[in-house]
Subunit: 603 residues, 2 copies
């Protein structure tokens, strides 16, 4: 077993305890299922796992039994006994124990001095000695460190959570093993908190809520990774798009529209062909066409710039577009809205002079601030000044002196705008350094979406020029900016951040109306018409289910305002039910005014 | 030479004269360029052509010389002498005349009894006799008929118009010949009218105006057939989209959003895979993905319907979408916006019960009427009731009894709405009959765009059901509707219809402002701000060219209102220059009000 830390101390960090707990799990398994073949069992975030070859399937009940056995072993206060033995002794030992996976690891240690997979760097020298740890009957090949005895695990709050399949050493050509996952925390309250958080995350899961709220769907016939958006999902997307476009238009951005195909030459020139290689969707027809689907928007937009002669008087020219781009993600990796083939990206570029760059970037930062304030995420952000990987400059296009200037400009802007950007090397874009903005969602997850990128390289590749005051051609500078990134990921984020209870300006249905009985239908229809005419999205439910059932249904849809219309409402005094359950008496005209205000204030 | 009509009379129809004129052209060529090898020379719409193998290139001056020679031959009153001779005599004759193309045609007549290309049906029987026509020294293999002598062409108004390349028999594997085109009309005024119309069409050509007005462009690197829309083009498209969406939302349509890819299985089920075959773009990746690009929108939309359980209470459900679909048109055939690979289609579907079909279709007809009235094309329309090709019902999907019912329903609607639809067989869609609407543009061209299609077949293929009052599943009915078809073709139509002088609501720039001199800049900027804040699209030109140059530039951009701001305008009394040249004195506030009114009235 490998561990990041080599220090074999008694400090017993949580990581060491988690790793020790995986040995404890293995020891419990061995005593319950003596024929088990053991793979590996590392500590991971929040816990540990062990990969096993078992003769039987395990269910939830079995996990309880194993847990019980683990507690019994803790009570026995078994020692973690470390021994350093020669490779050949170890081979004899694990052969005797009939542990083929350990023997395979030993063979790697012998041949390459490491148990790492071939793709990774290895030191190529054979290991001479190995360490083994014995815990009761269970012997493991492991570098350690571990706690001294199971007593030290007494205070650990652990729980076996699930059984999954995992290929031996992560390679799908190998045998599928059984992986048992466990959570482990230093204190019970930490485990409890984590479990609550997980339950909350599950409740907020955008895949689950997306279906319940009828925002999007997938189809077997269309294929995975290709979401289809239902009317309610499109309303949210369109509201976001409108907001972005409004904010950006104020800074001179104009909309363009480009197709999803291009000749591969476009991306050979931009550098994306080699960057995306395997992720390119290639397109052909029986009639001899050959295209690729665009993996990014920028190269298409350069071609609109290049379609007319430009003068210094025309600059800056700013384009924006919300369009789908396509990337061939690995088939096994697509899922939900976070990993899809069809990504609707809101992308924009400013083509400007060097002397205009700072002003352009500052405006883009303002746009980002405006937009993220409007969706309530601006608090709690930090900024990364994402620079080259100085040791691997071959990964980028463009000239080092241009990179120097670009990085300096961004650092100056960070200072002038008090962004306090952290310098992070190796995070630059293909063509230049960038400012990346990081936020935290309501579950505490860090999200990186908006970005401003400075690019001297692309205009040179595409010969994007303008005529200066002297009538000479000069290269333009490109500034790339993304505000909300892709609508798919942003929608997933919003669903989970708000647990589906969107602010009213984004809510697909803002007001739900339903009559108490048949005789109240005309009243409900009249009100629906008035509310609709005010530009408020409303749904009138005339189903004949009981009133309480209808209200429950609307509550599950997380609609901001629910109105049940009966005799009392005839005089125009409405009894409104807010999301969350509070009720309020309000006059019709005041109600409409109130909602319109909340929408415009993006509450 | 072949002719559609076999009647060899003296009625001397225009077509016969045009065809005779092509022989006259050949005779003139032979006397000027004796070594010419002759291909074929038919009558065509508005004139004729002859394909020739010449030793030299021809220019405009040469065409004048040839025309002069043609008039000389007319003056000589040469006879068109017809002879019927045996195939072998004909072979000897054309061998002596050294006319290899004619010999090739004779070989076909011998082998297949026809000179038609292999792909077409031939009667397979060898011809025994052929007809030849002699005009002066020129002898042609031709079925006729012709006028009796060149005197009969005296009154014909003809003109040689251009020289082009054309592959022998239209096959690119063959030699490229020289094709000389001529126009020919019964009267001089008809020729003149046609030439004027051509000049007008050329001036209005959307490819030329699209570039001049900076609406769209093409890029060598992106590829042909893939237009990129500049900001001004996008403004027009967005205005159209907004109008369509507004009209359709009034009838309950909701927007959906679907990707451009799907598994081929989707189209195998819908029937489009076999319908589009060669026109499908196939998509794959190095990682083993296999998709096709959507050639139509309907199948994707069925999958959103199918994603939730539907009750009769939910119907009708109406989806609309403006998205790109992709068809692999033949590489040689793409050009301008009318024939592209990437087609942005505005498509919509109503999913309803049989009892709701008529109401749905009537609403769609109202939408079409509303929209085409708003773009000023509704006058001068007619409607086609497009039915099956009864002799080839295998071309369609679905059951004959459903087709009967659908066709009857559409006929009833046509009657009830006084559409006076003409029954046209063989024009139905793959899955059902339709109502197609035809308009005339300002050049008199007939345009077929909007359509309403009734479809019982697709829901059965995709198992699209709803639960009826008894709790049983019933198939839903799909009604397809297109309003403006594709934005690409519609934009081309609008550009040519309005010659680029779009109605103000569609004009990318509605008001152009420019100051007389530097001291008037603040005045111009103030006015720009006020006009913009009123929601009017305006451009402020601060370039230092002369005022008259700037005005001319704005006129070429066909901007509805041009304002030059000088001392006189300081008091708020504006001197506006309308498109077309008239000027008017108007107070600032009245001007803004006037424009807003014109925009909302779609003038």
């Amino acid at each position: 077993m490998k561990k990041k830390s080599n220090q074999d101390s008694n400090s017993d960090s949580l990581e060491i305890k988690r790793h020790s707990c995986s040995h404890l799990l293995a020891a419990a398994i061995l005593s319950l299922y003596p024929n088990t073949k053991f793979g590996i069992g590392p500590a991971i975030n929040n816990g540990f796992y062990y990969d096993l070859e078992l003769k039987q399937d395990l269910g939830t009940k079995d996990l309880k039994t194993i847990e019980k056995k683990m507690h019994e072993l803790i009570a026995k206060d078994l020692k973690f006994e470390k021994k350093v033995i020669s490779l050949s002794e170890a081979e004899k030992l694990f052969t005797r124990l009939q542990q083929p996976y350990k023997i395979e690891l030993l063979r790697d240690l012998k041949e390459k001095g490491s148990t790492k997979m071939e793709k990774e760097k290895v030191n190529q020298k054979s290991a001479e000695k190995v360490t083994i740890y014995q815990l009761g009957n269970f012997v493991d090949l492991c570098r350690g460190p571990h706690v001294s005895s199971t007593k030290k695990l007494n205070s650990l709050a652990f729980k076996l959570t699930k059984v999954a399949g995992a290929y031996w050493r992560g390679d799908e050509k190998n045998k599928m093993l059984t992986r048992i996952y466990g959570l482990a925390f230093g204190q019970k309250k930490d485990l409890k908190e984590y479990l609550n958080q997980q339950a909350e995350a599950e409740k907020r899961d955008h895949r689950k809520l997306g279906k319940e709220l009828d925002l999007f769907c997938f189809s077997e016939l269309v294929g995975p990774g290709l979401p289809l958006f239902s009317p309610k999902g499109v309303i949210i997307i369109e509201q976001l798009k409108k907001e972005i476009e409004k904010v950006c238009a104020g800074y001179g951005f104009e909309k363009v529209m480009t197709p999803h195909l291009a000749k591969i030459e476009l991306y050979q020139l931009s550098g994306h062909a080699s960057k995306f290689k395997k992720e390119l969707f290639r397109v052909h027809s029986d009639q001899g066409h050959n295209f690729v689907m665009k993996p990014v928007q920028c190269p298409h937009q350069t071609q609109i710039y290049a379609s007319q002669k430009r003068s210094y008087r025309d600059l800056p020219i700013r384009y924006m577009e919300s369009e789908k781009q396509y990337r061939a993600e690995k088939t096994g990796e697509v899922g939900g809205l976070n990993r899809v083939y069809a990504i609707t990206v809101e992308d924009g570029h400013s083509f400007c002079r060097v002397s205009q760059v700072k002003e352009e970037i500052k405006n883009m930062v303002k746009i980002i601030k405006d937009f993220y304030t409007s969706v309530g995420l601006w608090e709690n952000h930090w900024v990364s000044l994402s620079l080259r990987d100085y040791e691997h400059q071959e990964k980028y296009i463009g000239e080092p002196k241009d990179w120097d200037q670009c990085e300096e400009m961004l650092a100056e802007i960070s200072k002038e705008m008090n962004l306090n950007a952290k310098r992070i090397e190796g995070e630059a874009a293909l063509y230049g350094p960038k400012l990346d903005f990081m936020f935290k969602d309501s579950l505490g997850n860090e999200i990186q979406i908006p970005t401003v990128q400075l690019d001297f390289a692309t205009p040179k590749r595409f010969n994007l020029v303008y005529t200066n005051e002297k009538g000479e051609d000069e290269y333009v500078v490109m500034v790339h900016r993304a505000i909300l990134g892709s609508y798919e990921r942003f929608l997933a984020l919003l669903i989970e951040h708000f647990a589906g209870a969107f602010p009213i300006w984004l809510s697909p249905i803002q007001v739900y109306l339903t009559p108490v009985g048949e005789k109240h239908i005309p009243l409900a229809q009249k009100l629906e018409k008035e509310i609709k005419e005010a530009g408020i999205r409303t749904e009138l439910d005339l189903n004949s289910e009981t009133v309480s059932y209808r209200v429950r249904k609307a509550e599950k849809q997380k609609i901001p305002y629910i109105l049940v219309l009966g005799d009392k409402e005839k005089q125009g005094n409405l009894n409104i039910r807010k999301r969350g359950g509070q009720t309020e008496q309000i006059q019709k005209q005041d109600f409409i005014k109130k909602i319109l205000e909340e929408i415009s204030q993006k509450k």
